[in-house]
């Protein structure tokens, strides 16, 4: 086989930094709009004689081309080299369609500039996009430069790919509790930037307990299942397994059940999450916790509860299987259990938090304007700096939302190879100071994905990695409907929603 041809065609087909560019394009196309849609409307607490209700509906978001705004207010097209030389940020304005709703009546939609967004070089909205070789050189660019980074205040910044444990998967492992070995099933459930760790564990006495955020300590598995709507013993045990041995374990659990009905179960949870409050509030709080903090990736509506119950059943089953030796401990370092967060995903996280901050500010500005009896105007209430500043400062310092540092790094320009390697770097969020021997190992699943040789020596050894030459990154699926239907076609049964 002529490998040279293969390599050549690969390198010609894909750019060395295409993963960054594709991911960022994805963010521009869908990510931005997704964040806006998640937010929906900006509500205000304005209540006055004329205005009973005032809110702003958020519509479409538009990204412009990178421009520079001079001190005299004039704007002109910006090219990266100019940004580098004049210590500017290579960024484009963001415009959002905002529709004020006064007393339920939609008013005229307005396009408002909500801030400026740093643009990745060679991405969709980059000014270099349609230039040919000669034009690139004329604009002071290296035609061989792969792009894939940003320019913030004149310095080139790379968003280093983050290697994270894949969310929404059940991982079983042994844990130590006071010297006893217990089996636990863990899931990082993720929904829109919110991550919740759900743990189902089988204690030494064989009883299942669940812990999840929003509830301190652990709660009995059966209680939780009943609260979620699987009331009868049969339903609960069916949701776990029809295996006789596992059923035996389940009987032990059912025998020790604390509650018999959904009502009782919710009351029990209410006592935990809002002790000492009125009964009504307790139940309300319990329902809220179940909907929002337990397995949020399955949804946060009441009808999603049954899904959550069945999911917990599966977690319990995995736990029992581990106890019975039918299943091995999950391998956290296996690459199928990893998810790479590329620049687009990171920008989405940052944009979500920054945009939230902006909406809070808009709300505040509107309310203040109202108390001072000024005419409410969408345009004057939006202070674009709130968003721009947040985006820029995070990208300039590398201090990302969620307290992670070193996300944005100064692009290594020691030589061309160093730059390329930097754009293809992957870092693990694990602490540098602890040994973590297994996480630092070269894992066989790195084959073809991560370079077996290139890793720094010293404290970062094995935690900082680089892509293999011919790695190809797959993106998440947008349309899960199709997959679901295919699965049903293969004979998978739908869990009937109640």
């Amino acid at each position: 086989m002529n490998r040279e041809e293969v390599t050549k065609s690969y390198l010609e087909g894909k750019d060395i930094a295409s993963h960054h560019i594709e991911s960022f394009n994805d963010f521009l196309d869908k990510g931005l709009q997704k964040v806006i849609d998640e937010h929906g409307t900006i509500e205000t607490d304005i209540e006055e004689d004329e205005i009973e209700n005032y809110e702003i509906k958020l519509g479409e978001i538009r990204v412009g081309k990178p421009i520079v705004r001079e001190a005299d207010g004039s704007t002109s097209e910006l090219y990266p080299t100019e940004a580098r030389l004049r210590n500017l940020t290579y960024s484009a304005p963001l415009e959002l369609e905002m529709i004020p709703i006064r007393n339920g009546n939609e008013e005229k939609a307005e396009w408002v500039e909500i801030g400026i967004l740093p643009i990745m070089l060679r991405s969709k909205y980059c000014n270099l996009n349609d230039l040919d070789r000669e034009e690139l050189i004329r604009n002071g660019e290296d035609p061989k430069d792969p792009g894939g980074y940003f320019i913030i205040n004149g310095s080139e910044r790379v968003l280093v790919t983050l290697e994270d444990l894949a969310p929404n998967r059940i991982m079983v492992e042994y844990n130590d509790r006071y010297g006893d070995q217990i089996e636990v099933a863990k899931t990082f459930s993720k929904r829109e930037g919110y991550r919740a760790l759900i743990i189902v564990e089988r204690g030494r006495d064989g009883l299942l307990e669940v812990s999840f955020p929003g509830l301190s300590g652990r709660i009995n598995f059966i209680t939780l299942m009943r609260a979620l709507g699987l009331e009868s013993d049969k339903e609960i045990s069916d949701s776990v397994s029809d295996d006789t041995e596992i059923m035996k374990y389940m009987f032990e659990n059912l025998e020790e059940a604390e509650v018999e009905s959904q009502e009782e179960a919710i009351e029990k949870i209410g006592n935990r999450v809002a002790a000492g409050q009125a009964k009504e509030y307790r139940n309300q709080r319990a329902n809220y916790v179940l909907e929002h903090y337990l397995l949020p990736h399955l949804g946060n509506d009441e009808e999603d509860r049954i899904l959550k119950a069945h999911y917990l059943g599966r977690m319990a089953e995995s736990c029992f299987e581990l106890a019975l030796g039918r299943r091995e401990e999950g391998d956290k370092d296996h690459y199928s259990n990893k998810k790479l967060k590329l620049s687009g995903d990171l920008m989405e996280d940052l944009f979500r938090v920054s945009f939230n901050r902006l909406t809070k500010d808009v709300k505040y500005q509107l309310e203040r304007a109202n108390t001072r009896n000024r005419e409410l105007s969408v345009k004057t209430s939006v202070r674009p700096d709130v968003l721009s500043q947040r985006l820029q400062s995070a990208m300039a310092t590398g201090e990302w939302v969620g307290g992670r540092t070193g996300v944005a790094q100064l692009l290594d320009r020691t030589d061309h190879m160093a730059s390329l390697a930097h754009l293809r770097r992957v870092v693990s969020p694990l602490s540098r100071s602890q040994p973590h021997f297994e996480a630092r190992d070269l894992h066989p699943t790195h084959w073809g994905r991560i370079c077996p040789s290139e890793t720094p020596e010293g404290p970062n050894c094995g935690l900082v990695k680089n892509y293999a030459m011919a790695v190809e990154l797959t993106k998440g699926v947008e349309d899960s409907q199709e997959i679901e239907e295919t699965l049903y076609k293969f004979g998978v049964n739908n869990i009937e929603r109640v």
């Binding site: 391998d331 021997f437 894992h443 066989p444 077996p452 040789s453 094995g462």
Partner: protein
């Protein structure tokens, strides 16, 4: 400000009482303002001039000192309401729980109190810490439900971080706490281990806050002329403001709720003034959002006063640069770049005898190398010597002046490479000023410093006093460090080419012509040509052994087995075919070849003998000569290694292939028996473990066999073999891996078995236990590895990298703790080891009283040698 010298007789620790604070304070601070409009400190403000001064031109109102002279003086803030000291909150809780709130008595019977008091006294008398007695007192006293003296019910005291106490759900104010504590009788205070003279419990609650002197919280003037205050000053301003407001509100009769809020606020400010990182409350912040660095932060942690400023200091008269090798300077020397020598100086006192020399140095000025940079007159005034004024100053020099002269050849300096893990990491060298910009050092001192030349940098310190120089010369010179106190053998010695060179020189077959012999001897500074050992067709020849013998001191007698020794069952001694039997009689190398064992670092038999029989300078001299001779020899013979040095003849390759194939078959057979369930487990092992062990063993064998075949077919003159055999560098295993087979790769002592489901790589079938599927590398490095082999090799290699990275970090921390624990131990004249308080740690140093440096490889007595000596005497 001058103070009379006083001698400290003892130090007593206690808690500052309000009276003490008032007594030591020079003023009460009442206004939160610092400077008036003219920029002068306000009286009774935080920058009051009685607290000391920092601005040049002002005088301290207390001691009259100027900035830099006056150490500063404490002031005080009279708190309008007492507050709890965060640092003592836990102590307060313990005491509250152990005493009665009505009568203040400790909840123990009088008898018990007596008992504990005695116990505490006993502990103090034998120099032990009475801490755990106090702990027991608190534990016992806490158990009571009601006061055993007055019968008041005792409620549980709840403590809420960081400074709140609650009794039965009711909050206790600091005043309540203070009154409660004040009520405890002195006698009871003693029972829980406090000394009421120096630490009354009520002093744990602050009534008066000491204001630290201005000198420890200096303000800085920014470029814009704006003053920027220290964090502590900011915090004190906060305290003063709230204190004032509290007072005003209370005097105005404000509602209780407001008063309480303000009280909380004082508590918060005082707490954060003391420690801004306590859990439970948000840290105080600067206007810019930066958290303030208050008292505790100044002291704590790596960047704190203790670890950063007291245990670690920065020094002058030091230099640092890259190091490079120079085989031509002595082991005792260090090459110093001329530019550095011009910057580093040694103070020289001008006397009657050296005045001319001093004058000459100053005359040369600061730019010409042996010159001078500064002169200090008799009145202590310093003057910089410049190109312009050097002549003029040179004329003025008188006796009693001091000049700072440049570093020159022969000066003694300290040379150091981090990490300084043992005492040989800092040694004294003689300066040799050289051109270019690197430090030069002899290759023999690389092992003690653990230095190489891949970019290593080292530090140099110039000694400034005669005593220091004398001490360094006697105790720290390289020659004094020849023997390691770690294992009682030379740590300094020849490396790499030194060893290969002498090996080549002293082999039997080496014979040299006259010119060659003379050349080698000249390098070793030997002026006489010995008698030739051979004559062939009129040509005179000298054996390598004869030439080498010239550098061995004359009456050395030594017999040992060298590095090449194969530990045969019966030793052929003189007739050894590997020339491993080294025999030296009267300084003449009779048989054997000189290798790593002879003068290599960490072993060095001959070197060891010379140090012990003669003296250190003789040993250094020997080492200098030997290394120069070997280097000249290896240069003469020529020595190189290339890819064809790893070539094996066809037959050897076939043999190796057969060995490996056999091993593979054996492994397959093992797996088969295992799968049939016929494998017998080794006792104490599971079946799987047994199989793994057996496979590992087979494969290990195979590689060894392949290695043996390879080494049999490699020419003994092969450079790789010479290096491995003589111990210069590398091992036979390395050669085997290059020529025959790399062998089994392992991660954490096991074959590679992690990865995809039931298999390592997707290139293999599931549940494949065979050698290649689990990381056995058949290929040799020279042949090249297959992709799967390469990957498995990378896995094994990664483990090594991670290991070294993790180990250095861990051992560094371990060393730090060890040093902290042992640094004060000292061996007395009586041989006993004591700590600073004079307690005996060991009755005999090392339990045997042996100085390992002077031992024979750790053994106190070298019996073999004594017997050998007696035998020889009889002969």
């Amino acid at each position: 400000m001058s103070q009379p010298l006083k001698k400290i007789s003892s130090i007593n620790f206690g808690i500052l009482s309000p009276e003490e604070i008032r007594e030591m304070s020079v003023t009460k601070i009442i206004t939160p303002d610092t400077y008036d409009d003219d920029g002068y400190p306000i009286e009774m403000g935080l920058m009051d001039r009685r607290l000391g001064v920092i601005d040049p031109g002002l005088e301290c109102k207390t001691c009259g000192g100027r900035p830099g002279e006056c150490p500063g003086h404490f002031g005080r803030i009279e708190l309008a309401a007492p507050v709890v000291h965060v640092g003592y909150a836990r102590e307060i809780r313990k005491i509250l729980r152990a005493t009665c709130k009505e009568c203040g008595k400790l909840q123990l019977t009088e008898d018990e109190k007596e008992k504990y008091l005695e116990e505490i006294q006993k502990r103090i008398d034998i120099g032990e810490d009475p801490e755990d007695v106090a702990r027991e007192v608190f534990k016992e006293a806490r158990k009571k439900d009601e006061c055993i003296y007055c019968g008041t019910t005792k409620n549980d005291i709840k403590f809420e971080k960081p400074t709140t106490f609650k009794e039965d759900g009711e909050k206790l104010t600091a005043t309540d706490v203070r009154e409660w504590l004040a009520n405890i009788p002195d006698k009871d205070v003693r029972v829980f281990g406090m000394d009421p003279e120096n630490a009354r419990p009520e002093w744990l609650v602050l009534e008066v806050l000491p204001v630290p002197p201005v000198t420890i919280r200096p303000s800085i003037t920014l470029e814009s002329g704006q003053r920027s205050e220290d964090d502590l000053t900011h915090k004190l301003v906060d305290i003063l403001r709230i204190n004032q407001r509290f007072q005003e509100n209370r005097d105005a009769g404000a509602p209780q709720l407001v008063i309480e809020d303000l009280w909380e606020l004082i508590q918060y400010h005082v707490t954060t003034f003391l420690d801004n990182k306590v859990s439970g409350i948000p840290p105080a912040r600067h206007r810019s959002g930066r958290t303030l660095k208050t008292l505790a932060q100044r002291l704590k942690g790596k960047e704190g006063r203790f670890r950063n400023n007291l245990s670690g200091k920065r020094v002058n008269f030091s230099a640092r640069t890259v190091i490079s090798p120079d085989p031509n300077i002595s082991i005792n020397e260090v090459g110093v770049p001329r530019q550095m020598a011009k910057e580093l100086t040694i103070p020289l006192e001008v006397t009657e005898r050296n005045i001319e020399k001093a004058r000459k140095l100053v005359k040369r000025g600061p730019e010409n190398h042996p010159g001078a940079n500064y002169v200090e007159r008799t009145d202590g005034r310093k003057q910089k010597v410049t190109e312009e004024n050097c002549e003029e100053i040179a004329q003025k020099i008188e006796e009693g002046w001091h000049i700072d002269r440049h570093l020159k050849d022969g000066d003694v300096v300290l040379f150091n490479r981090q990490p300084s893990l043992h005492r040989m990491s800092i040694m004294a060298h003689e300066v040799k000023v050289m051109p270019y910009k690197t430090f030069r050092l002899n290759l023999c001192v690389c092992p003690p410093y653990n230095a190489d030349f891949d970019g290593d940098e080292m530090n140099l310190h110039v000694l400034q006093g005669e005593e220091a120089r004398a001490e360094a010369e006697v105790l720290m010179k390289v020659q004094t460090q020849l023997l390691s106190p770690r294992f009682g053998a030379p740590i300094i010695g020849g490396i790499h080419d030194h060893i290969s060179g002498s090996y080549l020189l002293t082999r039997k077959k080496t014979k040299l012509e006259k010119s060659e012999a003379i050349e080698l001897l000249r390098k070793a500074e030997i002026k006489e040509l010995p008698e030739p050992t051979e004559e062939e067709s009129g040509q005179k020849y000298w054996s390598g052994k004869k030439i080498f013998s010239q550098v061995i001191p004359e009456d050395i007698n030594l017999t040992y087995r060298g590095e090449t020794c194969k530990s045969c069952e019966t030793c052929d001694e003189e007739e050894c075919e590997n020339e491993a039997y080294v025999k030296i009689r009267n300084g003449e190398l009779k048989t054997g070849v000189i290798d790593e064992k002879a003068f290599g670092a960490f072993s060095g038999e001959i070197l060891n003998e010379i140090v012990r029989e003669y003296d250190k300078s003789k040993a250094i001299n020997f080492l200098n000569r030997v290394t120069r001779m070997s280097i000249s020899a290896i240069t003469k013979f020529g020595f190189s290694i290339g890819i064809d040095d790893e070539d094996l003849p066809k037959e050897a390759e076939n043999q190796i292939e057969r060995v490996v194939e056999n091993a593979e078959e054996e492994v397959d057979r093992l797996i088969e028996t295992y799968e049939r369930g016929e494998l017998e487990p080794i006792p104490g092992r599971s079946l799987d473990e047994t199989l793994e062990m057996k496979i590992m063993q087979r494969l290990g064998n195979a590689r060894d066999k392949a290695g043996n075949i390879a080494s049999q077919h490699l020419d003994p003159d092969n450079a790789g073999v010479i290096m491995a055999v003589s111990g210069a560098r590398g091992s036979m295993l390395n050669l085997t891996q290059m020529t025959a087979s790399v062998g089994q790769q392992s991660v954490r002592g096991e074959r590679i078995n992690r990865g995809f489901e039931d298999r390592t790589l997707t290139s293999f079938e599931k549940d494949d236990l065979s050698a290649d599927a689990r990381g056995f590398v058949y290929s040799s490095y020279k042949d090249g590895l297959s992709p799967t082999e390469f990957f498995m090799h990378a896995m094994g290699g990664r483990e090594g990298l991670v290991d070294t990275a993790v180990r250095t970090a861990q051992s560094g921390y371990m060393q730090r703790r060890l040093i902290n624990a042992l640094q004060d131990l000292k061996v007395g004249k009586d041989g006993k080891v004591r700590n600073t308080s004079g307690e005996i740690v060991q009755f005999d140093f090392g339990e045997d009283g042996i100085d390992p440096t002077k031992s024979n490889r750790g053994e106190a007595v070298d019996l073999d040698r004594i017997i050998e000596d007696i035998k020889e005497d009889e002969e």
